[in-house]
Amino acid sequence: MSTLPKLAVAKFASCDGCQLTLLHAEDELLAIADAVHIANFAEASSRLEPAPYDITLVEGSITTQKDRRRIVKLRSDSKYLITIGACATAGGIQALRNFADHQDFLRAVYARPDYIQSLATSTPIAAHVKVDFELRGCPIDKSQLLEVIASLLAGHRPRTSSECVCQPCKRRGTVCVVVANNQPCLGPVTQAGCGAVCPAFDRGCYGCFGPAAQPNMLGLSDRLLQPRMDRAQSARFLQTFNSYAPEFSAAGQRLWQLAGQPKPLHPSLASSPGDTHPAAVGQGKETTEE
């Protein structure tokens, strides 16, 4: 048997794009395969070896009862569990269901409950188990993924940027789309990592990497977004791929409230009436709708 560290890649509700990032490391893929033993990666290999694993990369969010049980097992099978991408770290685009009109949504979803098993919520992995490191993005960035793998192999904690998109945007030499073109942009509150790609293509950042550290959400929504778009538009802008990330969730809900279209969190996610986001994750407060 191989003595290399064992790598597993697991998928929950997601688009496959983040695990595909590993296969998109065309120049590095074969070197990675020499440095780790790829023990369980169904998208890439038919050899599925049983646990334990040293490094488990987890893509996707928790949206079914079965997956709630599967992630607990996977955690106990893994030395390091790393979540990759907005679905795994914040519930993903499918977390929009967390704010949907509950009764309406349930009627739509469960008209055929005998066929479909699905929770009324989409929650990040860290709401269910301890996560050792989170890699943000929709999709994740390839060089950050390689940095995480290399760091773990070298035995130190991965270092990824916690600055906001504006800094790499300036370094890239892009003219500010807010100042020059009066376009709304989430760059000031969004964590860097993508390379500030959207402003370089003449459009505002739409928040793929989720909230940066200590974002000024009030300043962003009231001074930067609302002069350029109405409240509902501003709310939608904040609530797309990281809608359930705490800061985006709270700011988005405030804007929906101001727009006269309140979108409260699903009751199983709110710790008390009026809460915008659970104060702490991992409380196991979800209930099933099955």
Binding site: F41, G92, T240
Partner: protein, 436 residues
């Protein structure tokens, strides 16, 4: 299962289909070595995209639908913007249309080279993965990875990034690439064209199982080009309809064992086949010159109803995509506006394009303030799913005498030849429910 039947009844399960995108399983049931049931079970959790799209603005749809699939986001983006342009009455300038074909070529190259080298080719050599295959065929696999990289590079230059590009907009693009950005790719694409030719020669010589089905192929066909972004919906029995008539001839049904809907041709209710093999069977005269030469060199004959030869069709399409992309790169001049100007209005529109895995359909209703009122998306894999099950019913009686593990492997290989994208196929349940 009752005890007294245990000796006669046999179930073969493939709990996790591997080297496919997304989560699926296979269940085969035999009684006295006679096939009683086969189910391609898709257990990928539904994500309800059509629900989320309702109430979103028309200009958010391309970014949102991209997230259905990380392997073919451009197919979703391009179909979405074209359907919305139909709804809003937007005309697209010819240079924008050319750039759209160009970025679509990038996605075909990326997706096809992934499937050919890392997912499908290992089956022909008894390897578990492309990485294992690379130990035996380093030159071939490295060549494949490099082609994939250049497909991704095109997506990055024109789309901003390879997965979930950011530059595709209703009306065109957010920003036109600078001439030197695209021209810098030319040497790589010249190399890629030759590499794809060598790959096609390599895969054409693989040993293919003797398995031939008289498929009902369905693909877009276009009078002037190998259809990618536009055309008429065409079938092997000679039907040729405008894309707006798609829903009159193809319908989705829900089956209990799958979170994906399955499509059938109507009114007869039969399965049909989409993807590179269908396109090549229906449109092989319109391949680019190098791809056409290669088609003849490797002895491609139609009709070809051997699904395992999908790998050859994919390789020939890679030659086509590299050659077409090369021409578009060489002739590119950044002239005009990045996107058409238009007024938002209420309307309904639909579009069909050719995703790497086959025909994809979108239809949207837009309100007068530009919000989505209704969305319908039919991805390729949910359309191929019924055909895959039908193929398995043909294959299984010929292999039931084999051990369970061998049967499971052969079934999985047949499924894999379709390049199924289960993530794509899964997100459409809410729609059925809305109709009821």
């Amino acid at each position: 299962m009752p005890d007294d039947r245990r000796d006669r009844q046999r179930s073969i399960r493939v709990p996790v289909l591997t080297r496919v995108e997304g989560e699926g399983a296979l269940l085969v049931q035999l009684r006295d070595n006679v096939l009683t049931d086969v189910q391609l079970a898709i257990y990928e959790p539904p994500r309800f995209f059509e629900s989320f799209l309702r109430g979103r603005s028309f200009d958010e749809v391309a970014d949102i639908t991209a997230r259905i699939c990380g392997i073919c986001p451009v197919a979703y983006q391009m179909t979405a913007v074209q359907a919305l342009e139909a709804a809003l009455g937007i005309e697209i300038a010819a240079p924008i249309d050319a750039l759209r074909r160009l970025i679509y070529c990038g996605e075909w190259i990326e997706s096809h080279s992934l499937h050919v080298h890392l997912l499908h080719a290992p089956d022909f050599f008894g390897c578990d993965s492309g990485i294992e295959l690379a130990k035996r065929f380093p030159a071939e696999v490295n060549r494949g990875l490099r082609m994939k990289k250049f497909g991704n590079r095109l997506l990055e230059v024109l789309g901003g990034r390879a997965i979930h590009p950011v530059n595709i907009a209703v009306g065109g693009f957010y920003r036109l690439p600078r001439r030197e950005e695209l021209h810098s790719l030319i040497p790589d694409f010249q190399w890629g064209l030759q590499a794809a030719i060598e790959t096609a020669r390599w895969v054409a010589g693989l040993p293919f199982p003797d398995f031939e089905i008289p498929y009902d192929f369905v693909a877009l066909s276009h009078p002037d080009q190998y259809a990618i972004t536009a055309g008429q919906v065409t079938t092997s029995d000679g039907m040729r309809i405008p894309m707006t008539d798609y829903e009159q001839h193809f319908a989705e049904v829900q089956v209990p064992h799958s979170t994906s809907l399955q499509s059938r041709r109507m009114p007869q209710g039969t399965e049909y086949f989409l993807g590179p093999l269908a396109r090549l069977n229906l449109n092989c005269e319109q391949l680019s010159p190098a791809a056409a030469r290669l088609r003849d060199e490797v002895g491609w004959r139609r009709p070809c109803g051997n699904p395992y030869r999908g790998i050859v069709a994919r390789a020939i399409e890679m030659v086509h995509a590299f050659e077409e992309a090369l021409g578009l790169l060489q002739s590119y001049r950044p002239l005009g506006k990045p996107r058409s100007e238009f007024e938002v209005r209420a309307g309904e529109g639909m579009a069909v394009t050719e995703a790497p895995r086959g025909l994809i359909f979108h239809r949207y209703q837009v309100s007068s303030d530009g919000l989505i009122e209704f969305a319908k998306i039919v991805p390729p894999t949910s359309q191929n799913q019924a055909q895959i099950e039908a193929d398995l019913r043909q294959l299984l009686p010929t292999i039931v005498h084999k051990p369970d593990k061998a049967i499971a492997t052969e079934c999985e290989q047949l499924i894999r030849s379709y390049d199924p994208c289960i993530s794509c196929a899964t997100h459409f349940l809410s729609l059925t429910i809305q109709r009821q």
